[in-house]
Symmetry: C2
Subunit: 338 residues, 2 copies
């Protein structure tokens, strides 16, 4: 099945998004154009607000997953462009609603939409993007795609509600945490990848392999994101460090620190995370406890586990540039913790 | 084309929803069962919160429109039940997001969901219901239905954003007001009716007739709703009177009073509605100005105009119990102002 060449590449180089970005650059440009076109509305506030959050842009990771998955599956048509735009619209709608929910002040290093325009506008423009996403899917015309993405949407919303319930609850288990991030983050990664196989009309085993790749990559990605909230320099991450702590989010580093701590430690977490009774120096003490219990390192270790599953999920695809870029993406998602 | 009988019925009787409710009672029971089944989730807060708002229930006007439209078009299948549930889910999602947006304290006479569970949960459970609605549409399997309803969703969101922009702006014109209520309310009425013709596979002229019936009925309905916010007894309406005034909503009675008023009147509206600088007695003064300028009566008069268009839109359907119930529904929507 083709010549097997080692595509691991320069082992010394820091893993990056670049190979993936370069592979899909042309397609992604088309996605961006479609996004700008479809977020338009005579109601000016809509393109203004949507444009703000979409242009701030982030990495466009999810649409890139769709584009590269389709190409890896040998797809040579153009439907994947609109489908990738659907995925990004769904993601942006979620972000807008998430910003309202979390009352976060920063998103990707810029003021978040709700700070600039208010919660009301963020909720409604989120709804608009959500609807636009479904309009685009309808235009694509595949009920299978619509099924995958509407189901992903429902699961994401369920995950967000779960997260809301577990927030400030120090009794949240690692299992519950895993369920939350699987739903609220990894489900869309999984759907984004799977539709690449579906649009290429590949057999079910490849659909499932890409679904699993996306799911496990998404879990690892979110775990590292949660680690970064306690370790990243704000400048590199583009979001406020310590936000999760301030909100009392029960992310993996907190769960591990709480469970590994003594009574005094647990009293600290209950006061700060459960009662949100936080004083100066508390965040530093939280970091100290995490260090004491190697909570950040071990969270990264857990992420590596899911990264490994994601890598194996790609095993049945023949070696192509996209596969290699996906493998580097897994490394990138994990290594950015350092 | 069948025997034409007068179905206008007891002219002396106060128009009510009863004939419509009785006609679709059986089907509506199936819709309610499907709704309960599909709002379920292992995340308990979801059925709790969704159940609260759906059970509070309101009149189920929109799903009844779908059910009766389908029957009026001679449809004898069962797809209209799930489609009616889709419509109600979309409506409920909008209500949940609307409650967050308006910071209203009462919805249908019960505490609103956001008061009980917080804004966060309302936004997310709204998203869940929205997604569930699309999942149901996908199961129905018609891309045409999906197109109608996803488009309606986008227009509703646009209308909500427009309303947000015009709030507190005393310069809002009657035309702008009309555009808002057409989008945020009437569009879903129109879609709910139209899909009845689509599911029955009726010719385009009937689809369009039902679309127009729903659109104009929806406009009349919202206009009266806005009148009721200045005239209804809280007990009969099941919502707080004066909410729109408190929020500075530029509804038709305010627009008419502002435009017909003198400088002193306008200064009053600017202070109370634009600056939201409201004191005791201001609401009563607002009512006084509306009386002076017959703003409420004339808003009802405007609603009658749209009611008349809705009635004529039904003209090309042969006389059936559903048509008669729809005609009474138009009267009911307008007469409830008294």
């Amino acid at each position: 099945m083709g010549i097997v060449v080692s595509l691991d590449g320069d082992r010394g180089r820091k893993p990056s998004l670049d190979p993936l970005s370069e592979l899909v650059a042309e397609d992604l440009k088309a996605v961006n154009e479609l996004i700008v076109q479809r977020m338009d509305s005579p109601v000016e506030l809509i393109p203004q607000l949507a444009g703000h959050i979409i242009a701030a842009g982030g990495k466009r990771l999810r649409p890139m997953l769709t584009l590269a998955s389709a190409r890896m599956c040998g797809y040579s048509g153009t439907r994947h462009v609109a489908l990738a735009a659907c995925v990004e619209f769904l993601h942006t709608a979620t972000l807008l609603h998430d910003d309202v929910v979390d009352e976060s002040d920063l998103r990707r290093g810029l003021a978040s939409a709700n700070t600039l325009w208010g919660n009301k506008a963020s909720v409604l423009v989120g709804d608009f993007l959500f609807s636009r996403s479904f309009e685009l899917m309808v235009e694509d015309g595949s009920l299978e795609m619509l099924g995958i993405l509407s189901n992903a949407s429902a699961v994401i919303a369920e995950g967000e509600v779960m997260q809301l319930i577990t927030a400030n609850d120090t009794e949240t288990s690692e299992t519950a945490y895993l369920e939350v991030i699987q739903s609220k983050t990894a489900q869309l990664f999984a759907a984004a990848c799977k539709i690449g196989a579906v649009v290429a009309e590949r057999p079910r085993i490849e659909e499932e392999a890409l679904d699993s790749f996306g799911m496990n990559l998404g879990i690892a990605f979110q775990m590292i994101d949660d680690v970064l909230d306690y370790s990243a320099k704000q400048a590199t991450l583009g979001k406020s460090i310590g936000d999760d702590f301030k909100e009392g989010k029960m992310s993996l580093p907190v769960i591990l620190s709480f469970r590994r701590g003594d009574d005094e430690d647990r009293a600290f977490w209950r006061r700060t995370v459960e009662d949100l009774d936080q004083n100066e120096g508390d965040f530093e003490h939280a970091l100290h406890l995490m260090e004491k219990h190697t909570a950040l390192e071990d969270s990264v270790e857990r992420a590596r586990h899911y990264g490994a599953i994601a890598r194996d999920a790609l095993g049945l695809f023949s070696d192509r540039a996209e596969k290699s870029a996906f493998n580097e993406l897994i490394d990138f998602c994990i290594e950015r913790a350092y």
